[in-house]
Amino acid sequence: MRKIIVMTTIIILTLVLTGCGNGSQVSKPNETSTKTTQQTGNDANQQSETKDSTAKSAGSSTSNQTTGGTAIVAKSENIMSSRDKEELLNQVDKELDSLFSNINNLEDAQDADLDLNQK
């Protein structure tokens, strides 16, 4: 009976000390707020664009978390994608055309209308 108690205690102590998880595992960032790009080694300087539906204000903020040789770049996203930028500029271009069309459509009073002797 004593042996069983001693063995159980040893097993429990071993489990407590070694832990249940993997020591090299990295905790995941908040999945609901951002998508993250994982980069390793020398690629840490490169930034990739990620989307965040909750971020509205201008500018961007980044947070780096390094564990061992792995760098995680969590980026709150409010930078437009290349496609969105082109779309915005195309919209400006279209509005410019529309504005110019309105300028050309401004009609004038003719001299014949101003002359009271002409009907």
Partner: protein, 169 residues
Amino acid sequence: MKKIVSVILLSAILLTGNIAFAQGSTLSFVKSKITQAKADYRAKLTEIAPLQEKIRTDRTKILSQKAEARDAYNKAKSHIKELIKNKDNLTPAQIESIKEALNVIKQDKQSLAGTIGEIQKETLDLRTAKIEKNFDEVTNSLNSIIAVQNARLEDLQRTISDLNKAANL
């Protein structure tokens, strides 16, 4: 019998004289009326002339501003095309400026659209007033045209400024 003939002749002479006198006085009355009407017409023309001149001057200014707006538009278009080519180099601040420019351009467009057709409508009213010789209506129409022109001059000036800003985003 001689008396009767004499009375008839005398009556005829008197009647003819009266008619001639009446005709003469009517003619002078009509002549004075015509003279008065001509004087009134000249007075009205004198009153209206500065309005007509103002419309002509404003029309020249508007044409000049349209030409200026065309240049600013071409510059803005070229710049936007350049930005599209180099879209990946846009800074967040530039993007914000572009968004603001887009809103401003939309407002300018709406503002200008608000007066399209207004002068044409006033011109039609003016023609009717001219046919009816209604000088008060003529004056009203001319003043309305001037009001529309003034609104356009302001809109065009603001549009030119905004287009120049868009050309330097």
